[in-house]
């Protein structure tokens, strides 16, 4: 981040005129701590299968509901552990039914029965498809719970069993296994890699064909996306290389849920180091992603924007690929999107493009991004405004003097200065740094007087002055620095007190050898 380690970062800026893109571009923040509610626009990690009536009727026509519901937990344990296939089926079905009810499924109780290893064993009963299916379903729903719940399923040995069921001749069993595996993969990087190491990918990919029903395809895409998900560590590169071509195909599907989940998958793949971004760029999918960013459906637009947002955290060349794919043409609309979360994501994306070299900044100007940026800075909600502030900060760090002038002329100063009242120390600091950048540009033009007048007219001076008493020491030092440098009449800055030698001024010196 450009405002982290102040001194050395600053030196970098002077030398390279701030074009050290690795320092400016901001990766998606690694937030291991959240205070807020989980975000609603994130993709779902795990899903439970609640009762589908058509499954009940078509697959288990023989089932007698009254009889089922009367099975006690003790009965279930006994039946499951017994050897009567009919009873096994009934008990497993009863278990699955409890786990499928809409409210408060008794996952913990079922786990405590200790029947998971048995259920896993049922998965291998290739001669008894109904039993396999019911067990798979029950396990899917257990795995959809907390991490402890998923762990219980994995510890029961379910991974290899489910993977072999992918190739089951019965489509509904194979589909249920895909689902279960998706829940396991979504739990953590650890289980995800365990699946990959058990070679889950080839049989999973083999399920994708033009003939695959769309419901099934949605499940597969979702599971694939969970296999791409999670960091620390990232999923292995070679596995991703295998998945990617299929994802690219799925992204071209017409079903919006399939598109959505494949976009999410790509967004996970791009959320990492530049070599990961590169393999996505190399597929040539960026134009399609940009096209999807323009779609009205939130479930498509959100992950597509994320993916592109991640791509532009990469190198200048990778960012250029996104620009060439047309991202700058769709961003204005997204910066003005009705949903503030989209505005925020779009502004973040823009901030990373603005962190590029001046030719990219020029494209940003040419494509008319300044008016929506200023608008957002003025009227957006605070989260989006913060990102817009970063965009302006990066712009002023890497832009040429002419570009910075254009930025100021587009009216950025007023909303920027107003945000000095934001209740967020970091944002305030970034704005103060931006103001310093603006003054540096003004210095090169001999226009500091005009800029300081403008800042004062827009009530900025008063706000900066007030910040001199801010509780955060970095904030007040930055404010003080601006006031001293640009708002205090003449300067005596080179007159700091010096160290004095001894009080006696005798003029004498001993010669030494010189070598410069």
């Amino acid at each position: 981040m450009p405002f982290g380690n102040e001194q050395s970062e600053r030196m970098k800026k002077f030398k390279n005129k701030g074009k050290d893109a690795t320092a400016l571009r901001r990766q998606r923040m690694e937030v291991s701590i959240e205070l807020r509610k989980a975000k609603k626009d994130e993709q779902i990690l795990k899903r439970r299968s609640i009762v589908f009536s058509f499954v009940d009727e078509s697959v288990s026509p023989a089932e007698n509901k009254n009889e089922m519901s009367q099975l006690s937990l003790e009965d279930i344990v006994e039946a499951v552990n017994g050897s009567n296939a009919e009873l096994q089926l009934q008990a497993t079905q009863a278990t699955r039914r409890m786990l499928s009810r809409q409210k408060d499924p008794p996952i913990n109780q079922i786990i405590d029965l200790g029947i998971i290893p048995r259920l896993v064993e049922f998965l291998t009963h290739a001669d008894n498809a109904p039993l396999q299916f019911e067990a798979a379903w029950a396990l899917t729903n257990i795995a959809s719970g907390t991490s402890d719940h998923t762990k219980a399923v994995v510890d029961g040995g379910a991974i290899p069993a489910f993977i072999s069921l992918l190739s089951s001749p019965h489509m509904h069993i194979s589909e249920q296994s895909v689902w279960a595996l998706g829940n396991i993969a979504g739990d953590s990087a650890l289980y995800r890699d365990a699946l990959i190491n058990c070679n889950v990918i080839p049989p999973l990919l083999a399920l994708v064909s033009p003939a695959t029903p769309v419901e099934f395809l949605r499940n597969i895409t979702w599971t694939l996306s969970n296999l791409c998900r999670n960091k620390n560590p990232y999923p292995p590169l070679d596995a991703m290389k295998k998945v990617l071509p299929v994802l690219i195909c799925l992204m071209k599907h017409e079903d919006k849920e399939v598109i959505s989940d494949s976009c999410w998958a790509v967004s996970y793949l791009t959320d990492g180091s530049n070599d990961r971004i590169q393999i996505v760029v190399d597929t040539g999918i960026l134009p399609r992603l940009v096209e999807l960013m323009g779609r009205p459906e939130l479930i498509v637009l959100t992950p597509a924007l994320r993916a592109i947002g991640n791509v532009v955290t990469g190198t200048d060349e990778q960012t250029q690929a996104a620009i060439d794919a047309g991202v700058l043409a769709v961003l204005p609309r997204l910066l003005r999107h009705a949903k503030s979360a989209i505005q925020k994501e779009a502004a973040w994306t823009l901030s990373n493009i603005a962190a590029g070299p001046s030719r990219q900044i020029q494209q940003l100007i040419t494509c008319g991004l300044l008016p929506p940026l200023v608008e957002l800075l003025d009227k957006g909600d605070l989260k989006a405004q913060k990102e817009a502030v970063w965009a302006v900060a990066n712009f002023t760090t890497g832009g040429t003097v002419e570009q910075v002038v254009e930025l100021v002329q587009s009216g950025v100063l007023k909303p920027l200065l107003n945000l000095l009242l934001a209740k967020d120390s970091k944002t305030i600091l970034v704005i103060l740094d931006t103001i310093s950048n603006l003054f540096r540009a003004a210095e090169r033009l001999g226009e500091t007087g005009r800029l300081s007048m403008l800042v004062e007219e827009l009530d900025g001076l008063e706000k900066i002055e007030a910040l001199q008493t801010h509780d955060n020491s970095m904030v007040y030092r930055a404010a003080l620095n601006i006031i001293e440098k640009y708002f205090s009449g003449e300067e005596n800055s080179d007159l700091q007190p010096g160290t004095s030698q001894d009080g006696l001024y005798d003029f004498s010196v001993e010669k030494q050898d010189f070598n410069f």
Binding site: L35, R36, K423, L458, L495, Y505
Partner: protein, 971 residues
């Protein structure tokens, strides 16, 4: 130290002694305590004393000592020994919370501070039980205890309001939320219930409301970084209760005090802050609640009285409305004409009224009044908040708001007209309203720069402002006079010039007003008018236009300094300075009287300098008197010296540190006015100027160097002949300065003057030493600033003594030195030199090295010839630094750091830039061409061949341009 009664007794004795007024007893006791504080058990002894001592004074003293001990020692600094032993740390943490909670309030506060200091270091990792321990006390039902916990929590959590987001911080907040949010919410609900059950018990209510205030503050801290899930889920509880508290009133909680805010006001004020926080940061989630808060806060404003104790609450509340009304999606809450009218009528107008407290300040505390009113330190006042609300409303509703207010302004003016002496406050409010309505952008330097076009400012000025200022009595309705003058001041860029000219005599007249505010405003307004720019960078108001008023202006300005309360009025002194600068030679006839008055003033204030700005402008005015007079009549310098030297001597003898730098600057100015040899009075002072004690003060260095330069310019020969024994001392000063990275440039100023002006033979014996000294700095601690000055100096030397002399002295210090300096310093660094004169000196010096230094042509130095030429061409062709300094008259000095840096440069004592090569060389490029031509005639063929072998093409092209311009060719 053991936890023994004997030790407790000893400690008690010493603590008692630390309270003794006699330092002979107090100091040793403090020393003793310091010497034992490293011992184990010391803090536990203090804790025992503050709990169990029989004497309450010892309890308090022990608690303060304990807190200070914690403050100094608790933090463990890396690589430093742990100052408190581990067992003491554990014991302190185990005991301090219950101890704090059971202590009386005075001790509780100290311990609470100590807990937050410890918490800052140890919480949460090393003090995991703290939160549970605190939360458990919520159940106690004892609000003395609960408030202690809340206060401690507040001091622990308030840093969440300003720290940067980080994983570490958020981990802590999450931990706090998990343990604290629910109990706090329950406590909040319970406290509110208790408030209604105890609605008739004043003393219980006070305790409960103290809790509510702390709870509301904690809410703010915990919600600051982001909206926590818990608070989002419980927003209904919190906001509903906050809302009803805003509307609550209870006679028992009303205070009689008019000044101090009561508990109810403090609580409501904090709730306004909380609502503003949510409105700003969590708009999406808070939207459903916002309209309710707008209504409640608005009703609050309508029903709150004018007393000072409500000021913070009212300005917070108005600021909340101001921030909401500017937002697009809340526009509709204000849109209705009735709403707007009602806001204007019931919120804005009443809060713009001039209150009794304002009137008091106007009369009795005018300095503070002026600071608030003029310099905008009014951020928290009601008027200011009302003004912000006007501007906020104008964003969407400029037309309607202007319309509504025009009606008010008119009716208030009518009220005034009916009976001015009773209703003058109505007019004051009307003027204030017009001002806040009209001003859209404002700066100190230029006044209002953008005005509301719907307000006719000139008409208002002519009809309502001028009549007040024209009235026969300058002392009648002083507040309205001040308003009128301020109106001129801030709208000076909107009102046409002819109106300003009409106003000038009126302003001059008001310099005589008895009211401090009025005559100060008059002086300030004149000063501001005199700095307005006309066309062509001249002043808008010319000296010619001012001619009829010169005498009365000067008379009234100086008379104003004799009015009670204004003897050191900086606004008046600044107006004097600005008048001199504007009027120039038309002040000459008045100088004798002026300088007498200034000297008397100087003498008076030098007894006890207390107003830095006043003093600064006074010295500026003295400088201006000297410059203006001596420009017309150089011989007048003598009479200034006569008038000033007595006071100066006194200042120097009494060592008035604040004034000494100024005195040196004025003396420099005077000395520079002399056309002939230096007067003997100055020479007598010369040895004193070399006294080390003077040079130890940083603030003296620049003006003293400047003064010594003036001595060298005017009196180098006299120094060489009559004070030759002082030359080592002079060079000693140079050496002292050069040793400091901060002051080395000053050392070079001095050295350059020595080289330029002193007769060569007088410094001959020191020359080698000077260079050795410079080389040492270069070798050991070179900085860019040093190199730049060094380069200018050696080139100046080269110009003065010749290139050959330069080469010889270098090589006499160490063989091949000259080549090394060329190669390692001059060639690579010359482009760093900045400043036109500096660049010119370097250009001429290098030209000399290239063309007048035989060793450059026929020794191993020859290989450096072309690189040096190339570097010189680079110096020529670098873009010039062409920032033009502002014209002196306009320079604004008000924000000069003044005494803080201990050197206050006087703008009007300014030194003209000195160009030592000015007469010798006009155009250095042509000079280079001519010199090369001369060289090539001396050794035909050599120069073109050197050029063609290694000069790069671009440089060659530039060079050919120079040759063409000089009409010479190379042979």
């Amino acid at each position: 130290m053991e936890l023994s009664d004997a030790n407790l007794q000893t400690l008690t004795e010493y603590l008692k002694k630390t309270l003794d007024p006699d330092p002979a007893i107090r100091r040793p006791a403090e020393k003793f305590l310091e010497s034992v504080e490293g011992s184990q058990n010391y803090p536990l002894l203090l804790l025992t004393l503050l709990e169990k001592s029989q004497e309450s004074v010892i309890k308090v003293c022990a608690s303060v000592t304990f807190k200070n001990y914690i403050k100094r020692n608790w933090r463990i600094v890396e690589d430093e020994p742990n100052k408190i032993c581990e067992s003491d740390r554990i014991a302190i943490k185990a005991n301090i919370v219950p101890l704090m909670l059971s202590s009386p309030e005075q001790i509780q506060k100290q311990l609470s501070d100590a807990i937050s200091i410890i918490g800052r270091e140890d919480f949460p990792q090393k003090w995991p039980d703290l939160l549970t321990e605190m939360v458990n006390r919520f159940q106690s039902g004892d609000f003395h205890v609960i408030n202690g916990v809340l206060r401690t929590a507040h001091s622990l959590f308030k840093r969440y309001r300003h720290e940067f987001k980080s994983n570490e911080l958020w981990t802590e907040i999450k931990l706090v939320l998990d343990a604290f949010a629910l109990p706090l919410t329950n406590l909040f609900k319970a406290t509110i219930e208790l408030c209604s059950t105890h609605a008739n018990d004043a003393s219980a209510l006070k305790v409960l409301f103290s809790s509510l205030i702390l709870i509301a503050k904690l809410f703010y801290s915990l919600n600051f970084q982001d909206l926590p899930e818990f608070f989002e889920d419980n927003m209904e509880t919190w906001m509903t209760n906050f809302h009803s508290l805003l509307t609550l009133d209870n006679k028992l909680l009303q205070t009689d005090d008019e000044e101090e805010a009561g508990l109810l006001e403090l609580l409501k004020s904090q709730i306004c802050d909380n609502a503003a926080l949510y409105a700003q940061k969590y708009d999406e989630e808070f939207q459903p609640y916002l309209p309710r808060f707008v209504t409640a806060i608005w009703n609050l404003l309508v029903t709150t009285g004018q007393e000072v104790k409500y000021d913070l609450l009212v300005s917070n509340a108005i600021q909340f409305l101001a921030s909401v009304c500017e937002r697009q999606h809340y526009k509709h809450l204000f849109e209705d004409q009735n709403t707007l009218t009602s806001i204007c009528e019931k919120v804005i107008v009443p809060n713009m009224e001039f209150r009794a407290a304002d009137e008091e300040a106007f009369e009795d505390n005018s300095e503070e009044y002026i600071r608030r009113d003029l310099e905008g330190s009014d951020i928290d006042t009601r008027r200011r908040a009302a003004c912000d609300l006007v501007r906020g409303l104008c964003k969407f509703f400029e037309g309607p708001v202007t319309g509504i207010f025009s009606g008010y302004v008119n009716s208030m003016l009518q009220e005034y007209a009916k009976n001015p002496s009773v209703n003058w406050k109505h007019k004051d409010a009307a003027i204030y309203l017009v001002t806040s309505l009209a001003s859209k952008a404002q700066t100190q330097k230029h006044g209002i720069t953008q005005a509301n076009e719907l307000v006719n400012l000139t008409e208002f000025f002519v009809n309502h402002i001028q009549p007040d200022l024209k009235s026969a009595s300058v002392n009648e309705f002083p507040v309205l006079k001040a308003d009128g003058i301020k109106y001129i001041m801030i709208f000076r860029n909107q009102v046409p010039k002819e109106q300003l000219l009409i106003s000038i005599p009126l302003l001059i007249n008001h310099l005589q007003a008895e009211s401090i505010v009025v005559h100060t405003y008059a002086a300030h307004a004149l000063e501001r008018l005199f700095t307005m720019r006309g066309t062509n960078n001249t002043t808008l108001i010319t000296a010619a236009e001012m001619a009829p008023f010169v005498e009365v202006l000067l008379t009234n300005l100086f008379k104003a300094l004799t009015l009670p309360g204004s003897s050191e009025n900086e606004y008046i002194m600044k107006a004097i300075m600005r008048s001199f600068s504007l009027l120039q030679e038309s002040i000459i006839p008045y100088i004798p009287s002026v300088i007498t008055q200034l000297t008397q003033k100087l003498l008076a204030v030098s007894k006890n300098p207390s107003k830095p700005h006043f003093n600064h402008y006074m010295f500026e005015s003295i400088c201006l008197s000297i410059r203006i007079t001596c420009k017309a009549n150089p011989d007048a310098v003598g009479s200034f010296e006569e008038a000033l030297f007595m006071v100066f001597t006194e200042i120097l003898q009494n060592d008035v540190q604040e004034f000494i730098p100024y005195v040196f600057q004025v003396m420099s100015l005077l000395l520079e006015m002399h056309k002939n040899e230096i007067p003997s009075s100055y020479m007598a002072l010369f040895p004193h100027l070399l006294q080390p004690v003077l040079w130890e003060r940083t603030g003296n260095i620049p003006p003293l160097v400047r003064l010594l330069q003036a001595y060298l310019e005017r009196g180098a020969n006299t120094i060489a002949s009559a004070a030759a024994d002082k030359i080592p001392g002079l060079l000693g000063v140079f050496q002292k300065l050069i040793a400091s990275k901060a002051n080395d440039h000053q050392g070079f100023y001095l050295l350059n003057s020595i080289i330029e002006h002193m007769p060569p033979e007088s410094v001959d014996q020191y020359r080698k030493q000077i260079f050795i000294l410079l080389f040492q700095r270069l070798q050991n601690s070179k900085t860019t600033k040093f190199i730049k000055s060094f380069l200018v100096f050696i080139n100046l030397y080269c110009i003065k003594y010749g290139a050959l002399a330069l080469q010889e002295i270098f090589d006499s210090i160490q063989p091949k030195m000259f080549g090394m300096v060329l190669e390692k310093i001059i060639i690579p660094e010359i482009q760093k030199v900045s400043g036109q004169v500096e660049k010119k000196i370097c250009a001429v010096g290098i030209t000399k090295i290239l063309t007048e230094c035989p060793p450059m042509m026929d020794t191993e130095y020859t290989k450096l010839w072309t690189p040096l030429l190339q570097a010189l061409i680079g110096l020529f062709e670098l873009p010039e630094d062409n920032t033009i300094p502002d014209e002196e008259h306009f320079i604004d000095i008000e924000d000069t750091p003044g005494y803080q840096t201990a050197f206050s440069q006087l703008a009007f004592a300014g030194k003209k830039e000195h160009d030592p090569v000015g007469q010798m060389v006009n155009n250095p490029r042509i000079h280079l061409a001519q010199s090369l031509h001369k060289l090539s005639t001396a050794c035909p063929g050599r120069v073109p061949s050197m050029l063609s072998t290694s000069l790069n093409a671009e440089a060659l092209q530039y060079l050919q341009g120079y040759l063409q311009a000089a009409s010479v060719t190379l042979l």
